[in-house]
């Protein structure tokens, strides 16, 4: 079979799965998720065996140790995957929820009901836990998945998918709900991206390169999470101790994440009182600092920042520091260099807090809290499939609700169009 018909066939199986899944009760979905978790734990030996094949191949290819670490499954990681499935089973089912109802002058009642999106294509890179994590969220929200994992994890992913499908089957659920493109051909992705009308949504999970390629080639809507160039603005009216804790947390707690701070903006009126102690603390934590010329006046040991640094997502213990005239300059800086991901202000001034909330156009805007809190669990969504930097459908952390859409429902008593 050629790649084109192979992918089309898989997609059709997935569509059939989606039709079945949309009608399942919450209980059926939850039981299936729990069976999947049990399957993963029961078959961990086989999983680790298959994973070792991938690791051996990766080592032979000379892949980096960071990549091999991401690829590796062990008992602990399998337990985490299983735990994730059980947690998703415990979340409320969004499907069928009526989010709003209102009455019209002609007596009919109009409402919105949450419905699954349909078939969701997940394109991801080396981490095999995505196979179980993404699947569980999509299934719970009533969507079938077509999975396309990284070629370096193909044996591991195949084994995970087999366990998930067997569990679905054991509950009388069409296996098409979890479809795996078990080929490493790049062409398979390109064919999948053309299947508008069968596949309803694509979610790429991985680096910027992957996301760009998918977006440029897809006829299907794509939900993207691009990079996070996140800012904290320390206002002249900030509580200095709080500002220090927030900035430190935003940069240092886990610098490799998309919601970590890359540039700290400091109001010139507070710089003298705030900066020396703050910079000292950063240096002590091993943060490499790059400062504007005014910052250098405070601390001559700091490297001078270049304009292009402000566009950089370091994902590392490196920080730009810029002293600004006021909040307006800070907001202009964020609008120009930011990526509309996560931005925070630290201030005691009510009016400035409200202006910052309203005017900064990011997926999450914080007053007096760390940008590191932009996360589905932290926000109480229960789980997340990613942080969307898109401007439609969903912005910020995407939980189960964001994996649904709404349809209109009308309860009439014979209403006609006049």
């Amino acid at each position: 079979m050629n790649i084109k018909s192979f992918v089309l066939q898989k997609a059709k199986e997935s569509k059939e799965g989606a039709n079945v899944l949309a009608k399942l009760s919450s209980e059926q979905k939850n039981t299936a998720l729990i069976k999947m978790a049990e399957g993963l734990e029961k078959k961990q030996k086989e999983l680790i065996k298959e994973n070792k094949k991938d690791i051996a191949a990766a080592q032979k290819k000379g892949l980096s140790s960071a990549l091999i670490d991401r690829l590796t499954l062990n008992k602990k990681r399998i337990k985490e995957m299983a735990k994730g499935l059980i947690e998703v089973a415990g979340l409320p089912d969004p499907v069928g929820e009526i989010t709003k109802m209102w009455k019209r002058p002609n007596g009919m009642t109009v409402g919105r009901m949450r419905v699954p999106i349909g078939v969701i294509g997940i394109i991801y890179e080396s981490r095999p836990n995505v196979t179980a994590d993404a699947t569980s969220l999509c299934l719970k929200a009533g969507n079938a998945v077509i999975l396309r994992g990284g070629s370096e994890a193909i044996n591991t992913n195949k084994a995970i998918v087999k366990i998930l499908r067997d569990a679905a089957k054991s509950q009388g659920i069409n296996e098409g709900v979890i479809t795996f493109l078990d080929t490493t051909e790049r062409e398979a992705v390109m064919e999948m991206l053309k299947l508008e009308g069968i596949v309803d949504l694509i979610i790429p999970r991985g680096g910027e390169g992957l996301i760009r390629t998918v977006t440029e080639n897809s006829r299907i809507p794509v939900l993207k999470h691009y990079k996070g160039i996140c800012h904290v603005f320390v206002d002249r009216d900030a509580d200095i101790k709080m500002a220090e804790e927030i900035c430190f947390n935003a940069k240092v707690q886990r610098p490799g994440t998309c919601n970590a701070m890359e540039t700290m903006l400091v109001d010139e009126k507070i710089a003298k009182n705030f900066l020396p102690q703050m910079l000292k603390r950063f240096k002590k934590a091993g943060v490499k600092l790059k400062g504007c010329s005014k910052t250098l006046e405070t601390d001559a040991s700091v490297e001078r920042v270049k304009e292009e640094d402000f566009y950089n997502e370091y994902l590392d213990l490196i920080l730009n520091v810029k002293i600004v005239k006021d909040m307006d300059e800070a907001m202009r800086h964020i609008a120009k260099y930011g990526s509309a991901h996560s931005d925070a202000v630290v201030t005691k001034d009510y009016q400035k807090a409200m202006r910052f909330l309203r005017e900064v156009d990011s997926s999450a805007v914080f007053v007096n809290a760390s940008t590191r809190l932009n996360d589905g669990y932290q926000f109480g969504l229960g789980a997340e499939i990613g942080i969307s930097t898109d401007k439609i459908h969903a912005r910020g952390p995407m939980g189960l609700e964001e994996l649904t859409c709404t349809k209109f429902i009308v309860l009439g008593t014979g209403q006609l169009r006049e």
Copy 2:
């Protein structure tokens, strides 16, 4: 200037406009909309003069009289355009609305705030009223528009846009909020569709061909309204008189619209009592009937329906009639041949009503009401920019809310990520 830099320049102006617009008060936006309405009425002579140029060119090209009618502006139509602008000014402003807020265990409050989408590209065909209608809805929701109208209406559209921009300018609003691609080069559309990162959303308004071309070539998210193959299912437990009124209204009241019924599905248990009178009434109204073999047993004068007819959006006084075994067969038919636009059941049975609502996956699902009611005004959205048949962001009629997205806002007291 070449087309590529021309379109890029326009898009950048629009982006600047969007940045300004997002921060305007409701009052500023409403005043601008009212000034635009006044401008249209004041300058109607100039408008009609420019419109005559387009009509003359269309006649010279030998365009159909239907097309020329859609292109034509007269005093009445200009008044309607102006009225539309004033109505939109009267609608509630969705921007800044906080749709939900909740407290997290760590004490921070998380909420969702409605925000504009940004820059919206509208690609449309001959009807010049779209220029004012689409602009007013986008602006009210805080979005800048880049308009690309049909080449046959270029003089009319230019004149309308000038009036709208002058009104914006008179209120101190950046004219970039309304940007018009004043070229008839097809390449300009293609260039616009590549401007992801500047243009945030594309809404094509027109025939299926236009929408397909846009979707296939766009790197920007597209909100589509494809065709409506709409059904009414008359259940065995229907009120026969109500069923007759609803089916008649759904087919005859305005057959050229996307929410008109194309296929009537009738439960075999009610066919004998329902069909003869219903078919008589349709014939009297000039509806051409195409029936399944069982329908032909009731009325031998009906033409036999072919399978491909069920995929047809007639947009005309033509109707497929099919007798089905039960609601399950009806729902399978809708799932196979329908376009997930508007589908209705007529029944007195509570359980079947609820099943139909839940299981039929259409943008609007009706119990005991006409499919013709699938409309933004009828649903109480105030206005609509189209009926989305997409599976993400918005399904069904799109009003002002659907022209926004939400961002997360966090009100903290120093919360950090543990």
